[in-house]
Symmetry: C2
Subunit: 171 residues, 2 copies
Amino acid sequence: MSAAGDTPGEVAGQPGATVGFLLSQLGAANARWFHEVLVPAGLGPRQFAILRFVAGAEGQSQNALGESLQIAPSRMVALIDELEEGGLVERRHNPHDRRAKALYVTDKGRRTLSRAMKIGMAHEADICRPLHEGERELLIDMLQRIAAAQGLTAGVHPELRTAEPPFRHDH
Amino acid sequence: MSAAGDTPGEVAGQPGATVGFLLSQLGAANARWFHEVLVPAGLGPRQFAILRFVAGAEGQSQNALGESLQIAPSRMVALIDELEEGGLVERRHNPHDRRAKALYVTDKGRRTLSRAMKIGMAHEADICRPLHEGERELLIDMLQRIAAAQGLTAGVHPELRTAEPPFRHDH
DNA sequence: TATTGTTATACTCTATAACTATA
DNA sequence: TATAGTTATAGAGTATAACAATA
């Protein structure tokens, strides 16, 4: 971090231009922004993520889904409740295990998901508008390398996660 | 967002590689990571940010500082309380306005700040380890362009902010 | 005895509004 | 009447543990 004070002429108290600060700042800002643009679809970012995972493998139990997304079982309940009350997913009976619920996306859920994904693509375009030709791919490549080095898996967002991430502690 | 399902062969339910997702994921992960590495300094990221701003312009009132960082006055109280209890900053009397407190960094605060900034620089180096020669500058340039397009000011972290950010709503 | 889903409880964080002492 | 700081309260979000039904 080329922190304030160690660069002559830099205003003390300003974090300056560091990757860490910018990632943190942009991450928080974009999460909120995405939350906002998703409102017309009637979904929050978390519900969007869960809806995608349900659609990706229908019939899963809540706990199985929660394990993929690293969400505690007790949290899944309210999350699925919301989606079910909105008529986007269904809890069906699992014929092989009467304890478990099998999760399915409804037709309405599929339409909502489709709309939300269009919004997501437009949002991505908005974010990348300041980038020049070809820079988006380069940016993604760099960010993916940083994510991989921190042991972040491709599909799981930390905001959803219950447990601590597999950070590197060798510094 | 090149969302799941619109790319043939992509596993549905996976957000895929988008700038929006990666920023959000890395932002959250790095914020937590930074929180963790900062523990030995006895500071949280927010307190670190405040300490820097106090050091950057000593004698400021709490409200003035809160306006710079976009923190509500009532939140500032507890934040400054913590720093004062830790012996890192002092609330002195403002000779010109007996309502206001003038904030100053103690010697201990200066040593803590110095230690925290070293940690911050090491953290930045850790983040950027997967990048090749010269890529860090390019990454910062791209991230700054994205931040600027969203109206984010250089020194203010959204996590600290009370009010809504000046997002673009033209999409 | 272990597991699925659920509920209840407590804890953290923060936003809001009321209050005091000054101005 | 307005402002600086403070306090109190309420709300959201989330983690933890206990629970009933089933395996």
